[in-house]
């Protein structure tokens, strides 16, 4: 979360302005991948441990969908930045639409965190939660 946050702050121009965008992703990209991998492993272990508790919830599946979306966005961003470095550093990073997109994708990460916690409180979804259909 710290890594993804720093990359967003750099895109928004709120931190790390002594570094280029590429330098920022070189610093934080691998930590982001490492953090995601660690959470994937521990997440799978938790699902194996209590499959019903995890899988029979609305929060879990919405969370998995959003994790897939934001992982794809993060991967696509790093690949295009590597290919079109100059374009990103000089033009794209200053665009309002890109900054808007950065805020939107950051909010996806926030939703992922909230949904993760809500797996334990799936009743908040009312009839949408399969666990309440008992």
């Amino acid at each position: 979360m710290g890594s993804v946050f720093m990359i967003y702050l750099r895109i928004l121009g709120w931190a790390g302005m002594d570094q280029t965008l590429r330098q920022t992703t070189i610093r934080f990209g691998p930590w982001l991948t490492g953090g995601l991998s660690l959470m994937l492993v521990t997440g799978i272990l938790m699902v194996i441990g209590e499959p019903v508790r995890e899988l029979v919830t609305f929060s879990f599946w919405l969370k998995m969908f959003l994790v897939a979306v934001s992982t794809l966005i993060a991967a696509a961003f790093q690949i295009t930045l590597r290919k079109h470095e100059q374009l990103w550093e000089e033009t794209l990073v200053n665009r309002k639409s890109i900054k808007g997109l950065a805020i939107a994708t950051f909010l996806i990460w926030v939703c992922i965190i909230i949904l993760g916690r809500l797996i334990a409180y799936d009743h908040v979804w009312g009839p949408w939660s399969p666990a309440t259909k008992a």
Partner: protein, 200 residues
Amino acid sequence: MDIAAFLEWLEASGLATRIRDSNYLFPLIESTHVFGLALVFGTIAIIDLRLLGIASTQRSVRRMASDILKWTWAAFALTALTGSLMFITNAPVYYHNFFFRAKMLLLALSGVNMLVFELTAGRTIHGWDRAPSAPRTGKVVAALSLVMWVSIIFMGRMIGFTTSRAAVAVPPPAGLNFDDFLQRTPNDSGGTKNPPPRNK
């Protein structure tokens, strides 16, 4: 007013009652707490790893601190606020919980740790601002900080596992046979016959 009376007063307060009675408030407050702690730990780790000479070694420590620590403090304020709101809903129980006390002690110790840094390596920061790592005291403080924050998160999670008011196992929905799903018969599922209580 002694501490027990104060805790009971907190628990009986209108705000605590409102959070307790709502189906949504406690989960939302707790989720916000988790979001805040992810940022607190993430940003602190960036600084600690810099001090240890593990990452961002080319950058000025002072520049990084001025870039990042304001976000750490903002996120910390969010966790302190949401943590307090959760505390008042069940104040006497949390107050007597071992993991809650350990967490508060570790939080205080990490404050002392920060103070030690300011009084030692922090005083000479202009001399090593661009060095790949901090002097030895700075490194010790950074390593202790990482250990303490991981422990704080662990203790925080354990509070939820040991104070849950909803510690009653909720059966899976009717009609859902998970053994079918796993292509196993109930007898060789290998699972626990008495599943642990479903905690927060």
